[in-house]
Symmetry: C2
Subunit: 484 residues, 2 copies
């Protein structure tokens, strides 16, 4: 709804210091990004939110193509029996899958699973398509909706249905599959930092937290402004697990049949939630320019005066021709009302043009990240604005990185771990690797997420939980955090 003129539209947002969850809900709903669907746990992605998703899709598609992937589309309905073929997979997903049992009044011969992820159906097709080493590698990605029934849901972060992409690749060797798994994690990390301006902690999940059916799961983890961790994307090395379950075999150069090695990886509409909670402030959303549906909003000042709207249109056309996403807000509202609304909606750059500016051949630029206000000449404005947006993008990453880095605390025992996590930090420490210690941390603290970073520089010599002395190369450097 482009022309919402309701003066009530700029609404109150909860204080993020007092009630971060309510602040989040206010921001995502009152900016027109999302609404609740009629079925519990579902969301409606409204145009302002969906425009962000489309930019994310474009940027990822570019990267997927550059790394040799092709898009395809697989059916959403999976015969229930498929799910049961991989033991860990069915255990992980069976309780939360939606089941189609009837069409009209007729019962189906076999109930159908609405895909929670597509390893099983894609594996079935791959077993048909792959015969020879010449058919490898297969590197396919799919953009799709998936369904996982969740008890507690929040828009973008955890919903019964969400949108995502899932890459599914098949390789001749274990090495190639591992290389692909890590390449795609790096694609995600680079994308998140470059486009979303969110620094990512990269590493491996513990066996307890890995994907149901994978040999290993790698993750990008982002720190939200409340110090909690948002798992923002995962890349799985599936080994031969699904190949064996779905009988994917290929004739190798040795003229013998072998099971290939697979990877899968995905990011979802959850990334929109990450954007909100990594960059927002008391006034609402703050969007990095690269992912903002409107990078510049022009607000005419004294729009009724002769020449103002004409000049605004002229400037807008120039910026659009330079590839900048511009919106002219010529609605019948006061400039102050518009300033509030576009600040709430997180537009990176506001431009004001009034009669005095026109006289001086200038405009005023206001940046969302620092609220700084600066005049700019209309001459060469395209280059000025591009540099301005680049600077905002850069600054937002710096700011988020500084925040994150100042909220990582090295801890040596359970009390320190608890205190660090409770006060909104990532706790970095050592872990002996025992499942009992992992479970104990979860039970005795609020740290519900773990990530073993690629950088395994030790930060101590004892397990944070059992206190076991770790010799060189023993145990893991690990981050504990509250998880979304």
């Amino acid at each position: 709804m482009a022309n919402n003129n309701d003066p009530q539209f700029v609404k109150e947002i909860a204080d993020m210091q007092q009630d971060f969850p309510q602040w989040y809900t206010d921001v995502v709903t009152k900016t027109g990004m999302v609404d609740y669907g009629p079925v519990k746990g579902t969301m409606v992605i409204r145009p302002y939110g969906y425009a962000i998703w489309e930019i994310i899709q474009d940027e990822l598609n570019k990267r997927f193509r550059q790394t040799g992937h092709q898009n395809a589309y697989f059916p959403m309905f999976i015969p229930y029996s498929f799910l049961t073929r991989e033991a860990e997979h069915v255990e992980g997903f069976a309780p939360e899958v939606a089941l189609v049992t009837h069409v009209g009044n007729e019962e189906l011969p076999e109930k159908l699973v609405v895909r929670p992820t597509s390893e099983t159906i894609i594996g079935t097709m791959y077993s048909k398509w792959i015969q020879s080493w010449r058919d490898l590698p297969v590197k396919i990605n799919q953009w799709a909706n998936v369904v996982r029934w969740e008890k507690t849901t929040r828009p973008f972060l955890r919903t019964s249905e969400f949108l995502w992409q899932e890459g599914h690749t098949v390789h001749r060797t274990a090495e190639e599959a591992q290389e692909e798994t890590l390449t795609m994690l790096e694609v995600y990390r680079e994308f998140a930092e470059t486009v979303l301006a969110i620094p990512m902690l990269t590493g491996r999940k513990t066996d307890k937290e890995k994907f149901a059916g994978a040999d290993a799961t790698y993750t990008i983890e982002a720190m939200m402004l409340d110090g909690k961790s948002l798992q923002s994307g995962t890349s799985h090395n599936l080994g031969q697990n699904f190949a064996k379950a779905f009988d994917i075999k290929f004739l190798d150069k040795d003229n013998a049949l072998h099971y290939p090695y697979q990877s899968s990886w995905g990011v979802s509409t959850r990334l929109i939630g990450a954007l909100v909670m990594a960059h927002g402030d008391q006034r609402g959303l703050a969007l990095p320019p690269m992912v903002a549906p409107y990078q510049v909003v022009i607000v005419p000042i004294a729009a009724h005066k002769g020449g103002v709207l004409e000049k605004v249109a002229e400037v807008a056309d120039r910026l659009k021709a330079a590839g900048i996403r511009v919106y002219v807000d010529d609605r019948d509202q006061s400039p102050g009302w518009k300033f509030n609304e576009w600040e709430m909606k997180g537009v990176p750059c506001r431009m004001e043009i009034g009669p005095r500016d026109i006289e001086n051949n200038t405009c005023v630029l206001v940046r969302r990240d620092t609220h700084d206000k600066t005049p700019a000449s209309l001459e060469g404005l395209e280059d000025t604005v591009k540099a301005y947006l680049d600077d905002i993008q850069h600054n937002m990453l710096l700011k988020a990185t500084a925040f994150r880095d100042s909220h990582i605390v090295d801890v040596a025992d359970m009390d320190e771990l608890k205190a660090a996590v409770d006060s909104g930090n990532f706790a970095r420490t050592m872990w002996c690797g025992a499942r009992s210690c992992e479970d104990a941390v979860k039970e005795r603290t609020s740290a519900s997420s773990r990530c073993m970073p690629f950088d395994q520089t030790p930060v101590g010599d004892r397990c944070v939980c059992c206190g076991k002395k770790l010799s060189k190369g023993e145990g893991y450097t690990i981050y504990f955090a509250k998880a979304y």
Copy 2:
């Protein structure tokens, strides 16, 4: 699978004159566009088919934006009770909807419909979002998967799950809704002719064939090479039917509450089937350049000779830089094998470059539509190829239009109608407008589709069925055809 080297890959395609349905199945499956999913009636859209769909999406999105629409995403699950609120709608869709009744082992309190179309769920949201005339118009489009259980299915043409876009708009007045309905039909027609090179018959469906819940349904109908009609897109004027069923009301300038007027419109992956059956030939697929994933495939001749692959790469880079979609086929197969494969896959332009060409600074171009072969200088090749592709695009539309126009037969009685349709034509005639005559044509002939063209120039003065004499302005000019 970019590197399928199986020598068996170029496979036999049925003779289209002998067995058109088998020819279609061979073409869509053997070119790697589509495969059958494990659940009956579902399809897997493989990379070559999906790449076509992505181009269709891009081209339509451009047009939707230009006409002021925004994309959004609504949940796939609809409470069953919603479906029942609009009487015609539930009657039309209830028998073919897939129903989710359970999550894991638990039964849901209300069964959920997997959307067959989204008027009901979108109407529910609109009733929440729309309060004032200031909120209108709302012009939202969604790209989504939908499910309609079909008895007889064929890839792209009719499948249980398919991909589509559905536009849903809300307007203050009946006139605006009607204008939107016809504007979007015109967007479809222009897109189909410009991009897909398929001429479209535009008109209105009879009341019997209109969308369940609409006041009127408009259609674009394409003639396939077997003379049958493929309904390729529809645009519905929904009047106030869904507004009343879902209680969408707005405060108008007269300070009173009114029901707004709505439209909805959609095209689907069916368009890929239209492309196949409008342009294909005995050798397989023929794609118009604007929608071809690869517009040019370069086949190196005597690739082992020094300099050939280098020159091919150089030419490919130049064409890519000029915005042309190019694929270099440097696989270890004979040129003849490659020619066959790319002809089957419908690539508009094949380019051959061998040692002799390099000596002469030339290449050879072969066009898919006419099979003509012509040498071209490597100098200024970008412009040459662009003009060449434009000519192919133009020629394919001309050819399809000439075919269509030569297969429209004016008929005056039922015998003529039957003969015309049975021998692969559209029968154009007069209809009195009575449902009984419409039903009789369906029962007594193989004509299963009807379209009342916008051009209502009379082609006779008697109803083709009952023979009733029609005075000026009475009855309808109408096309009857066999329908896909």
